[in-house]
């Protein structure tokens, strides 16, 4: 099967999923509704009580600081759609239909993860507009900002593949949803997404420092110019090299889960 066939088949599959985003706009509304609530909650309820480094509980500074964390959390939750969507396709027999066609087998998951990138781009646009409304601004060059978005998208894309595997493994959309919530919720909170790490107790802080969610947030924060002035240099190698450390995770996720998820697709969707 040539690479061209894989791409063209993946494109057909992705197109199908994108039509669904268009036909069921509720899906996009609900993926963005809860992060918007988070923005409002943290910006106006908790924000006043959280001091960003160097800015003694300045709510305006906190809102700028907050957005990168919200972006990271949102695209990660966006990546879980991959798992739920695939599990639903298994349940409805669509995967069986695909598997009985002479298409490139890897195109099903590739198409799925690609369309979820489109979904995440739309979500990021909505969230950025929300951010602008609450006072968040990009203070860097176009290219730096683009790099920030790109890293967020790439990180979410690599996590999509983890969920592609889970979606093939646990063929019930409800299970995928619940399971992903249990894993992702602590992962996005034991991080610098909403609070500076200085406030975390010892071991938790170390975990948070090595958590890739922290580093992707840190990278986005730096690339958008949202680090409050006077912030001390972060501790720990990952946070000092957030772009590099995040990219390593992206690569690891892809190298491990692209083949694992595809093997799962080929062998065990059949029950």
């Amino acid at each position: 099967m040539s690479a061209l066939t894989v791409l063209s088949d993946a494109n057909v599959v992705a197109k199908r999923n994108i039509i669904k985003i268009k036909r069921v706009p509720d899906l996009l509304v609900f993926t963005t509704l809860s992060p918007i609530m988070f923005v409002l909650l943290f910006a106006y309820v908790f924000g006043g009580a959280i001091s960003v480094p160097g800015g003694d509980a300045d709510p305006e500074l906190y809102r700028e600081y907050l957005m990168a964390g919200i972006f990271a959390q949102t695209v990660i939750f966006g990546a879980t759609i991959t798992g739920a969507g695939l599990a639903e396709d298994v349940k409805k027999g669509i995967i069986d239909r695909f598997r009985s066609l002479p298409m490139a087998p890897s195109a099903v998951l590739t198409g799925r993860t690609l369309s979820d990138v489109v979904n995440n781009v739309l979500v990021l646009i909505v969230m950025s507009l929300t951010g602008l409304l609450v006072g968040w601004r990009i203070h860097t060059s176009f290219w730096e900002a683009a790099g920030g978005y790109l890293l967020l998208i790439l990180f979410a894309y690599s996590i999509s593949w983890v969920f592609a595997w889970i979606g093939m493994l646990v063929p019930s959309p409800e299970v995928v949803n619940n399971a992903s919530f249990i894993v992702i919720f602590p992962l996005t909170f034991i991080a610098n997404t909403f609070v500076p790490l200085e406030s975390l107790p010892g071991p938790l802080r170390t975990i948070a420092e090595w958590n890739p969610v922290s580093t992707v947030t840190q990278a986005a924060r730096e690339l958008f110019g949202n680090i409050p002035p006077g912030t001390p240099k972060p501790t720990g190698w990952p946070l000092q090299h957030p772009e590099l450390y995040t990219s390593i995770w992206v690569l690891v996720f892809l190298v491990v889960f692209v083949p694992v998820a595809n093997a799962q697709y080929r062998h065990s969707t059949s029950r």
């Binding site: 063209s8 088949d9 057909v12 197109k15 199908r16 036909r23 069986d96 009985s100 066609l101």
Partner: protein, 327 residues
């Protein structure tokens, strides 16, 4: 004439269940095979193996001359599969569904689009072509699903319970479609729980139960296997059934079945009209009144009952209860 589908000794085991226990099948090119059996007999497992969705634990299979285990993707180019529940994407329109399948068969954009229009027309879905499939009725979804299986004009078609859950109208529609395809030379393997369906559509019937082939042949051959005609009568007064059985049993060639609820009595006989008139004389002498009486050729229901000791799915629940009680 070569064989379009050949399966030898297919075995598939799940943890503690043996789904298939050595199934052999041969379907000559251009014929229709009906794979008949109750729920859980192994019909779907057989289809899934032959359509490359599932690997057997043992055995081998060839479809359209291609080894299913060695060259699954070559097999996929030659088959169409329409599953037990319609595998259509409910958010796509009928047209988009078929175009997508065409693209994935690598027909090319133009050809896929033309083929989608063609199929929508021949399956009477033109008016609904641009509506999302979730607005379709059950029958329309099935037709769309079957149309999807036909996009690449496959020489071999697998239909897994194509009419389960359809209303009578939808069922006859589906039968027409299948008969047309068969006339056009497509080899069809269809699974069904409905004996009537196998009787009507299939050139040859394979009966499976508990993962094994328990009988095969044409509908007529199977009926012959179970013996000749049936004497069937309905008495006016259910309390006289026992007496009726006593006087009639010596005339039969097999064990009669008595259904108290329907006040019915059925018994295999071999003498034809003479037996019928003798039976009537005896009942008259006993003054047992009748609502209905007749001789009929055995149906596949009788075949199934005779082969498995169980009735078909209509009575499945009763059967489960009685077999449970026996254990």
């Amino acid at each position: 004439m070569t064989d379009a589908i050949v399966a030898r000794g297919l075995v598939k085991k799940y943890k503690d269940v043996t789904a298939l226990d050595g199934v052999d099948l041969v379907v000559p090119t251009g014929s229709v095979l009906g794979l008949l059996g109750p729920n859980g007999a192994g019909k779907t497992t057989t289809v899934r193996i032959l359509t490359t969705l599932l690997r057997p634990d043992a055995g081998s299979a060839e479809v359209a001359g291609v080894d299913v285990l060695a060259r699954p993707s070559a097999v996929r180019r030659k088959i169409g599969l329409s599953g037990q529940y319609a595998a259509v994407d409910e958010y796509l329109t009928g047209y988009e569904n078929l175009e997508m399948v065409g693209r994935l068969y690598h027909l090319g954009r133009k050809r896929a689009q033309a083929r989608a229009r063609e199929l929508l027309a021949s399956f009477r879905l033109e008016d609904a072509a641009d509506r999302p499939a979730r607005t379709y009725s059950g029958g329309m979804r099935r037709r769309l699903d079957l149309a999807g299986a036909l996009v690449a004009d496959p020489p071999v078609l697998f239909l897994d319970e194509p009419t389960t859950g359809l209303d009578p109208r939808g069922r006859t529609d589906m039968w027409d479609v299948i008969q047309t395809l068969a006339k056009g030379g497509t080899t069809v393997m269809l699974t069904t729980q409905y004996l009537e369906e196998a009787d009507l559509l299939a050139d040859e019937i394979v009966v499976i139960d508990h993962g094994r082939v328990i009988a095969q042949g044409t509908s007529d051959e199977l009926k012959r296997q179970v013996g000749g005609e049936r004497l069937e009568l309905v008495v006016q007064d259910a309390t006289r059934l026992a007496r009726a059985r006593e006087v009639l049993e010596p005339l039969g060639v097999g064990t009669p079945t008595v259904d108290e609820g329907r006040r019915a009595f059925v018994m295999p006989v071999s003498g034809g009209p003479e037996v019928l008139s003798e039976a009537l004389r005896r009942l008259e002498a006993e003054q047992i009144g009748l609502d209905d009486v007749g001789l009929r050729r055995p149906t596949l229901d009788d075949v199934f009952l005779a082969l498995t000791g169980r009735a078909t799915q209509e009575d499945e629940n009763d059967q489960l209860e009685t077999s449970g009680a026996r254990r």
